[in-house]
Amino acid sequence: MHRIPVFEANRLHFSYGRQKVLDNISLTLEAGNFYAIVGPNGCGKTTLLDIMAGNKTPESGNIRYFGRNIKEYGKRKLAREIALVPQDFYIHFPFTVGEVILMGRHPYIPRLGGPSKEDIDIAEAIIEKTGLYKLKDKYITELSGGEKQRVVFARALVQDTPVLILDEATSNMDIQYTLNFLRAVSKAVSQAGRTVISALHDLNLAATFSNKMVFMKSGRIVSEGNTHGVLTEEGIKAVFNVESRVYFDQYSNSCQVSYKGIGPR
């Protein structure tokens, strides 16, 4: 069965001033997968994700979303298709957690209207599911970094989109919530056919949850494919310049990476 890919990036170029950030990126992403995008700092992951979310326009090349150039979608329409959890989660004014999460329904609420019963139900369900119920009436400015990130993540889940883009979306969470969120979204991938595209620094988390992996370095794609095929010692050496061992781990049921330690003292 031939399916139209979620994203087809075709020769994307992007630069900030003279600094090239994306250098001729072509990439096809299929629906129903959890993609992990990995690479060193400043390799262009965030810019690529922003272009996919329609936040940035490439200097040359184009990107298609379900076969149509992403520019042909209206902003509101696109916001009902693609949600983004950004890296930064600084919120400047004392909104309550409940208010911020309900903002995720913005693309569904008419400009001069209020949220419908459905909007509020969806928000309530996500608040319950993500363990934010106790924080619901607290001010976002009073929360810790990890708690804020959970709110920002939940806000994107409330957007209820077929595609979810995560840019280091769990970087400040403790391991319990990291696993909760990543499990929830990978369940949505495997059961509801949604697509997750996630930039992750932790290779083991990436390996545990993704089934596809894209390695990037200096604005180029180095390798891409099934996670267990691409995640190799040579690949990690080539992209991150570190020595490692990659082995299949029974407990996590995935490939895992370990690095040389300095031994017990």
């Binding site: 329609g54 936040n55 509101r76 983004l84 009073e142």
Partner: protein, 339 residues
Amino acid sequence: MRSPYLFLLSSLLLLIIVLSTGMGYLEISPFEVLKIILARITGDHELLNGLNHVFPYVVWDVRLPRILTSAIVGAGLSISGVIFQGILLNPLADPYTLGISAGAAFGASIALFLDIHFLGIYSVPIFAFCGAVGTLVAVMSLSSFNREMSSNNLILSGIIVAAILSAGISFLKYMADEQVSIIIFWLMGSFASKTWAEVSLSCVCVLAGFLICLFFARDLNIMSLGDRSANSLGISAGRVRMILLVTASFMTAVCVSVSGIIGFVGLIIPHLMRFFTGADNRKLIPASSLAGAGLLLGADTITRAVLPVEVPVGVLTALIGGPFFCYIFRQRSVGGLRA
């Protein structure tokens, strides 16, 4: 989920308007004030029977224009304060952050210094308005880079331009002989001898600005999550920021050109109201406009009718507002941070 504050604030504002109209050299009771206003609106002159025949003139032609202008300017400055804080993502921003007051002051100083009269009594306001708008254009072009305006760039450009203009004003003051006191007095802000023309002009501009700001209030809420989140929620953050920036600056320019420079209202009121309504701009904008109107009218009434000499209202708002602001700021820092 109608906010009870709005009803409370509107009633309070109406009460202040009626009471302050009665206050002054001639004491007029609130009941008589209402009768006079009703008589003017309905054209029913029998209502005026038995009243001192000077009262209608005092109420309608002398006091009400001044009172309404101060209320409208208070509302305009407070709304602009909400907007500037929201788009610059900085709770310390106020309508003057981008150098708009300095621009207006510079324009007014030039008109006063050169003794320009060819535009009649509107010469100084028009020069002030041009100065404010010119400054806004300069600050915006200085801070846009790659077709994007970051809030840091805007604030920095505002400070730079304001510093240059302040030096220019000092220079004009130094050069001016007998006009120097007029310049200084204008800079301190005043509502003395306002007319119905100024009431209607400022009313139309502030009302239009209010509606535009309210229209984009939800977008402004979401923009406080940052541009990346706002864009992915379907908001053109850059475009909304530009529209609101121009709207708020225009409102500020109109207010300044009508009244001179009145500080602190645009800074304190949004903070104070955020305390009651929360950060939601859909509630914050109406609440701030009503509270700002009441506060500035109250301050103007104190200087006009209570104090033995008329202190410039801009000085009074800073003198009352400054310490008051310090107080709430301390209270909030001690009792749990909200902003």
